[in-house]
Amino acid sequence: MEQLELLMGGFASALTPINLLWVLIGAVLGTAVGVLPGLGSAMAVALLLPVTFSLEPTAAFIMFAGIYFGGLFGDSTSGILLNTPGNSSAMASTFEGHRMAKSGQAAKALATCAIGAFIGGLIATTLVVFFAPVLVKMATVFGPAEYFALAVFAFLAISAVVSESVIRGIAALGIGLALALAGIDGPSGTARFTLGMPQLFDGISVIVITVGLLALGEVFQIASRIHRDPAATQIKTKGRARLNLTDFKKALPAWLRGTAFGAPFGLIPAGGAEVPTFLAYGTEKQLAKRRNDPEFGTTGSIRGLAAPEAAANATAGTAMGALLALGLPTSATAAIMLAAFQQYGMQPGPLLFERSGDLVWALLASLFIGLVILVMINMPFASVWAKLLSIPKHYLYAGITVFSMLGVYAVSSAILDLWLLIAIGLLGFLMRRYNIPLAPVLIAVILGPMAETELRRALAVSEGDLGILVGSPITVTLYAVLAAALAISAIQHLRHRASSKA
């Protein structure tokens, strides 16, 4: 049980008063941004990431653990009370959650979410502690061809398999790959697409891209419709969020089922928690039908809310494991986390555990601490958090606009970055307007450089022979699974098209 020893070491370095303060600040800020309507955990991480850069690495990552889970705790609040989920991963919990709120059980629904998020996160983080070394060992046999296959898998899974339109998904992927090309090419030292500007030699900062696409793009999108779309009505909550024993007993199996769906998906680059949350919701729906549950679909079933909520956090937890051990971001939020590591000159992957083991274990320990703090600040104060929903929209988005500018300027103090931010914000607006998915851009920006390096390395070793790319069992398996997933999704699209025509 070497892991437990290392984890205890992590707790020792995370449990200092000052580090506890950072987790607490991160948890409060993360929950606050997550709760705000229309803003989800991805936005929480993107907006608050630049702020953490002024701290030393350990403190920054400890604060980040709080933000990461805090955003997830807050995600479902606006879904339950307003019927507008903050993040697409909270969509499946909105169905039953909002029904419960409408039938006067808002406080119970919020409590179910908080405990579900806690259980899902706790189990997933425990799994990461025990299986991260296994993943690390697995990753050490990966060569350039395997890493390239992994990147291709992530690219196509996120842009073609899970996206609405394959063409628009690939278009987003292309934009992301293009954005990542600017700057000095590492292996040869050639300046690429910099227009001769020395400020661009390091490339376009990932912070600029994430804040522009996620935050500023969202504000533009809101601005384009705010005077035209009807406003959502909020359901008020009173009192503390708590569950009585009967409800707890009802929800517990659903939390565990949700966690079981969520945990494996953290390792698969399929864009995050959408797939497992909907799977968990579908299962609960079937089970409710079988047991003739009258609540499901009418007044709101606690199980139908508990399962997707636990699944979302379980996915986020194991996604952290895939990120730390393999260096593979499986969701947009994880991609932003990877950018945070790179900002400190660290590359997640097998070597990270060797070189910065202390930091990794401190981060894992603070994920546990963050979960405990979050459940403590979310259960008693659920209705206080809900008050954030009544901030007028114009102040909310004005604040976000100023904050995005602050974050980007704080990282580099460069005016050029602010111009790029506005341009990328407009790009994000355009993509939202025409339903082009954003996640492939983020994944491509983060994994693009790695895909390029590994592809060139592989081809340099094989002296240009493309056979090396499919030369090992691992790569062949990855490509075969990818092909199967593409085929299934194509059949799915065709079947739905046929049934909607009929």
Partner: protein
């Protein structure tokens, strides 16, 4: 990046209900995306062709950009064909996935039926009585954009507190605040707090402008 160039032409998404016989441009405003993709691809092509390659590694620094160019040209052309064949009026309906994720897949996974789809429509069921010429409210977006441009131009000369307060005020005004005088105070409070918390507290360097010169 040539992202701003598409703005003037974006007003072509006409309301289909008011125009029983939609013209060719109806539902085809997505050609802006095609234009952006082509512009990006052409930029990359020129950049790759004129690149001053250092070193003699093979495959060199031009190899990957060429692949990206091919993807971009291909996908832009396919998108153009798709828009020509089936123009889409603005997608007002809210549905699972909402453009980011495949609704077909989520329907299958979640075994969603009519009730869930209905629920998504609940929020937007009260269709506004008024119709507009364009789907996008360009006046609001334009004011916001002007505010952002002004902020970037003013940041160094007048400093963070004043320029950030100005940006806050402009965005709040554009998004429908009715209390302009009160907002000046809110904006100044917000920018001063961020200056204090992040400038003094976390040591981020924010430009102080001429006020810093006076103090």
């Amino acid at each position: 990046m040539s992202i701003t160039q598409h703005q003037p032409e974006a007003g072509s998404a006409k309301d289909t209900q008011r125009n029983p016989q939609p013209g060719f441009r109806t539902g085809r405003s997505e050609f802006i995306v095609v234009a952006v993709l082509y512009a990006l691809a052409i930029f990359l092509t020129i950049g790759t062709a004129t690149m001053k390659v250092q070193g003699k590694s093979a495959p060199g620094p031009q190899f990957f950009p060429i692949l990206v160019c091919i993807i971009l040209y291909l996908v832009a052309t396919l998108l153009a064909i798709q828009i020509l064949r089936s123009p889409k009026a603005p997608d007002n309906s809210v549905h699972p996935g909402h453009g980011q994720f495949s609704a077909d897949m989520l329907h299958d996974l979640g075994q969603l039926g009519k009730e869930e789809d209905q629920k998504f429509e609940d929020g937007v069921s009260q269709t506004p009585a008024k119709t507009w010429k364009t789907y996008t409210d360009w006046r609001t977006v334009g004011i916001m954009l002007a505010g952002l441009v002004a902020f970037v131009l003013l940041l160094n000369p007048v400093g963070w507190i004043i320029s950030a307060a100005m940006l806050f005020w402009v965005v709040a005004y554009a998004l429908g605040s009715h209390r302009p005088i009160f907002d000046v105070g809110v904006g100044l409070l917000f920018s001063s707090i961020t200056q204090l918390a992040f400038g003094a507290g976390l040591g981020l360097s924010l430009p102080s402008g001429f006020i810093g010169g006076i103090l």
